[in-house]
Each structure stands twice: as C-alpha cells, then as structure tokens.
Assembly symmetry: C2
Homo-oligomer: 342 residues x 2
C-alpha cells in the first residue's frame, strides 16, 4: 500500500510558481508583494458537523478551499497561497485523488498555490489556512459601517440551506432549483471578484457563512449600529416552499458564501453597474442605523413620492438586526441559527 508520504506527493504536491519554496521542507517560503498587507484566515471542516461524511470527495475538496477563499473575498483581499491539513480515517486512494482534484480546481479558479500541508490518520477533518494580499487601508472590515449606509447582499441567500433540506427530504424542489441549491451547497463560488471591486466602495463586508442576519449582526455589532432589513427586497426562493422554511433559509441559512456589505448612498449607481459587469445580482436589502434613532418607513432615498413615515424606536442595542414586512411591521423571525449536518 502507498504510504502517507507517497499519497501526499502524488496528489497534493503540485508546482507552486508563486512560492520561493513549495511543499517538502519544514516550511514553505513566500515572498510577499512589497507594500501590501497580508490577510490570513483559517477554517476547519469536520465530517458530521460541516459536511456529510459521504459528500462526493471532489465537491468536498472544492468546498474545503472555497469556504476559506470566501473569507479573503469578504476582506477584499487577492487570494495568493493556502495550506491544507487533513485527518483521514483511512488512505483510500481514489477518494484522495478525487478530493485533490476538487481542491486544485478551486485553487486554480481563484489563483492560489497550495504551498504546504499535513496529513494524518484520524476522524475525517480538514483545516485550510489562506493568505491573501490587500493594499494598506483598503481591506473591507466589519467595524466601519456608517449610520445610513445601505445594506447589500450578493446572489440569492438561502440556496445552500434549501439544498441541505432537500437532501434531508424536508422539502421538495423543482428540478432546476434542485440543481441550483445543490450547486450552492456543494460547490460554493466565493465572491472574490466582487470583494476586490468593493475596495473603496463598501464601508464594511462579511461573507454569509452563519446566515444573513447573524453575519449582518456581526457588522452591526462591530460598527456600533443596528440593521433594518426589508424582507421583500431580498431575492425570493422558489414558490411552494412554506413561509417558515423560506424565511429560515433566507435569513438564517448558512453556507451560502455570498457577501453581505454596506455602502453609502452615493455608491448605488456604481454598485448597480458592478452587478451588471460581474453578472452577479446585488440586492439592496436595508440600512444601518444608530440604535434608537427613528426609523423611516418609506425611505426618502427610495424615490418614493409619498413622505416617509417616521417610526420612533427604543431599547435597541448595537448589533440588533430586525426584519420588516411591506407595511413596516416587524417580522417575528424564529431564528434557528446555524444547522449542523449531523
């Protein structure tokens, strides 16, 4: 049987043109680009917690790297390098080959080199660390949203969770939606181009990994503000899904890896152009607001001819995110939070 070293060499060691020294030594050696900052993030994916143990290995390889690349996208950083550590219950060569295929497909798609790693025997588990580069002061942080900024989200939040529920036989989906939802679940496409384009435009950004409201809540908390989300400005999920499921998927569904970001009013036109350029829908779904400041029912910025209704607020603390219906009523949302796969 092939040893661990053989398998690593065969499947995980590929040319690393962007590195001074690639895999095979105690460390890889990298030459950072002068005058850039490094963005670094690490994520662990555990079988039974983050994915089904029987997930097709090619999908799993893609996703293991993609969820990390998504953190670079959310920071507005250009992906450069990654390391992979994995614990495997057995050295099934065909499984490893397919996993590596998915991993390197993602690396190639986003321009990273896998410069180092570690494999060991143990429960199925992967840990990736990614490095990207961003000019000083240009990173998209969570803590710099401003009062009155629009809240935006890319793509169609909820698809991945809907796909998961479909696999769990909890919902039925038309064939075209099945494909869309499962692609979102198994083959997420981190929004790197969007993140790069948002440098200098967005005031704050995060990737939607824990659910839209939870992740927007992180921006609101870090920025000392509250978020008002208008439900019918969110992109819809397929008809025939019951309302509770739809809300839960859209607002609390994790694993989408879309970007949620905030930007000042003045960026609206530019962001609409950007959506067209990237062929990626960008939805303006609400606004950031100072806690306990009045809320406007018909936002005066929305080209609405009728005067805005001013609604007083109280008992708000920074980090709160509320969802409103078409008549300004609060949607009492039963937050299920992040769902484990077990």
């Amino acid at each position: 049987m092939a040893t661990e070293f053989d398998l690593i060499r065969r499947y995980f060691v590929r040319p690393t043109p962007s590195a001074v020294l690639g895999p095979g030594d105690d460390c890889a050696l990298l030459q950072p680009t002068p005058d850039q900052q490094l963005a670094i993030s690490t994520d662990m994916l555990v079988a039974g917690t983050h994915f089904f143990p029987d997930t097709p290995p090619r999908d799993l390889g893609w996703k293991t790297l993609a969820v990390n690349v998504s953190d670079l996208a959310a920071m507005g950083a250009k992906p450069r390098w990654a390391t992979l550590a994995g614990s495997l219950p057995n050295a099934d060569e065909s499984w490893i080959a397919a996993f590596a295929e998915g991993l390197f497909a993602c690396a190639q798609a986003y321009g990273l080199d896998i410069v180092g790693g570690d494999t060991t025997s143990g429960p199925l588990n992967f840990c990736v660390t990614v490095l990207g580069e961003v000019p000083p002061g240009k990173a998209l942080r969570r803590d710099s949203g401003k009062d009155g900024d629009d809240i935006w989200v890319s793509g169609r939040p909820g698809l991945a969770t809907l796909g998961l529920r479909f696999l769990q036989n909890k919902v039925e989906l038309p064939p075209l939606w099945q494909k869309l939802c499962l692609a979102s679940l198994h083959h997420p496409r981190p929004r790197v181009e969007l993140g790069l384009a948002l440098r200098g435009k967005a005031s704050a950004a995060i990737d939607v990994s824990d659910g839209l409201l939870a992740d927007l809540g992180h921006i609101a908390t870090a920025s000392g503000l509250v978020g008002d989300v208008i439900l019918n400005q969110l992109p819809s999920l397929p008809q025939g899904i019951d309302r509770a499921t739809a809300l839960d998927c859209q607002l609390a569904g994790g694993d989408d890896y879309e970007l949620c970001f905030t930007a000042p009013f003045e960026q609206r036109l530019r962001l609409a152009q950007l959506a067209a350029e990237l062929e990626l829908p960008l939805w303006r779904i609400g606004q950031l607001r100072t806690p306990n400041a009045p809320r406007f029912l018909n936002n005066p910025d929305d080209n609405n001819p009728s005067p805005p209704t001013i609604i007083p607020t109280e008992n708000e603390v920074a980090g709160m995110v509320q969802v409103f219906g078409p008549d300004g009523e609060i949607i009492d949302f039963d937050h299920h939070g992040y769902e484990h796969f077990a």
Copy 2:
C-alpha cells in the same frame, strides 16, 4: 451555557500588538517586514494519534503551538504569527481555559501573536498554522547539505519517546529521568534561538519530529547524499534501558523537536561556542557523503592519530542513512518508525 463565540472571545482573543487587525473579522491583517520572506507551516494534532485524549490541557495547548514553532526553528525563521483551529467534543470551560493558558504561554515564550482561529464541535483535534520571517537566501532548507558536511543534533534525542513508553508502563525510569522525559514529551522547547543562530552556518536543517534517522533521511534525500551516523557520538539515554529500546528511542523516536542539521567542517569551533552560548548541547554525530563514495572509518578530521581506514561502499542510493558502531560495523537497526499514541 457560554456559547462558542463567548468561549472564543474569553479564552482565545488576546491583544495582538504585532497585527494590523487581530481576531474578530473575516481575516486578520498583517504587515510583513519589508525585504523578508515568509516561512509558513501547518500541523494537525489529533487525539489518539498525536496525543492521549487525557493529556493535561495546559500541556496540550503548549505542545500544539510548540510543534509548529519547531518548523519555523528548523527553517531559521523568526516566529511572528499563528492561527489556531480546533474541533472540540464539548465546550468544557475549565479544559478550554487550561488549554488556552498553555497555548498563550508558548506564544509568549516564542514571541508570536495568535491572530485568528476557528473552533467547532467534533472529535478532539487542533490545527495550527505558523508564520515566521527570514531574510531571502538565509532559510535553512533540507536540500542544501554538501558532501563531507558534519551532521549535528541538538539536545538528547529519544527523551520524548522514552517518556511515552514510561507512561505506557513499558520501561522503568529513575525519578530525574522521568521528569526529563515527560517534560520533553509534554512540553517540548522548539529550538528557535538555535535556528536563528544557524543562519549562515548550517547547510541544511530539519526538526526531529518523526525520528532522527527518518528526518536525517529527508535531508539526505533532498540533498542527493547519504548519511553516516556514529552511534557512540549520540548522547546517551539512562542506563538500565535495554539496548533495543534505547536504539529505537534515540534513532526512531519522534516528538523530540530537536534540530538535526548539517554544517561544513569549518563551523565546528563556532558551533561549539554556540552550544555554550545557548546552554544547549550540540552533538556532532556523523557526516554526509556522496552515495557509493568510500567511507572513512577513522575520520581524518577527528584528530585521530592513526590513519583512516577506507571502506568501499556499493548499492547506495541518495537518502540512505546508516548507523555505525565503534568498530565501523553497521548497526542493524530495527526501525519501528513513528509510533501512534492510540
């Protein structure tokens, strides 16, 4: 009960003065030192494979970081930053507190900031990625050992494995050695100062994590040479240990995290001085040689008055490492390789 976020904030988020932006965003932001290269390494430690699940958590926290710092030491890199990802079967706060204490003690001892991380539920498992800096061309690589270079090792290889066997009730040890061996097993001290001092002196280096012969073999393979190790030039283990155990611990015992390095003859005096300065024994244990080149029984460099005996060799391939007894006989070593903890 405290949530995951609470526990992370409470125990794993500490000030990170060396980072532009520390934990809490999608990525941490780092400003690399101009004109330095980055050394990066990642290691995964799995319960049952790399440590006993009941290892005291403070020791485990130290060791989880220390084994990664050791890779920086072996590269001659200055430790700068680390990320930690962990999978935990349950959120036992006192366990987490003790683990974090050990982790940050190690970070402080070696001057790293923990700039990011990820925790999740799952089988006990940790993954650390470390970043260090080294001037271009100064890194201690594996592939640059030269024919005739001395082979050196620091400390006393075998202690950690002997400690493991003591815990497994396979050997008895005098009390002082118990302490020494268990400290080496649970609280390894990566040889960062040594690695930094070896810049410009050593031709190649590696840390002894898989066992002295296996790791020296990596240098020999990468350098296209063979290694001759003289058994009685290795530091001894306590008397009363049977010979097979002693050999196995010294030559194949993993987990010591000493440095094995090669250096030209001219560095001998400087390295002896360095050992004194660092208060760390450095043992000259053999030489690198071109495969199938003759071997000298009494090395003429060794101040030996009698003329050297020239021994012809054959069928050698790069990467071979052989161990010789006092009369030049090959020690037929029964290589057990890396031992799992299960």
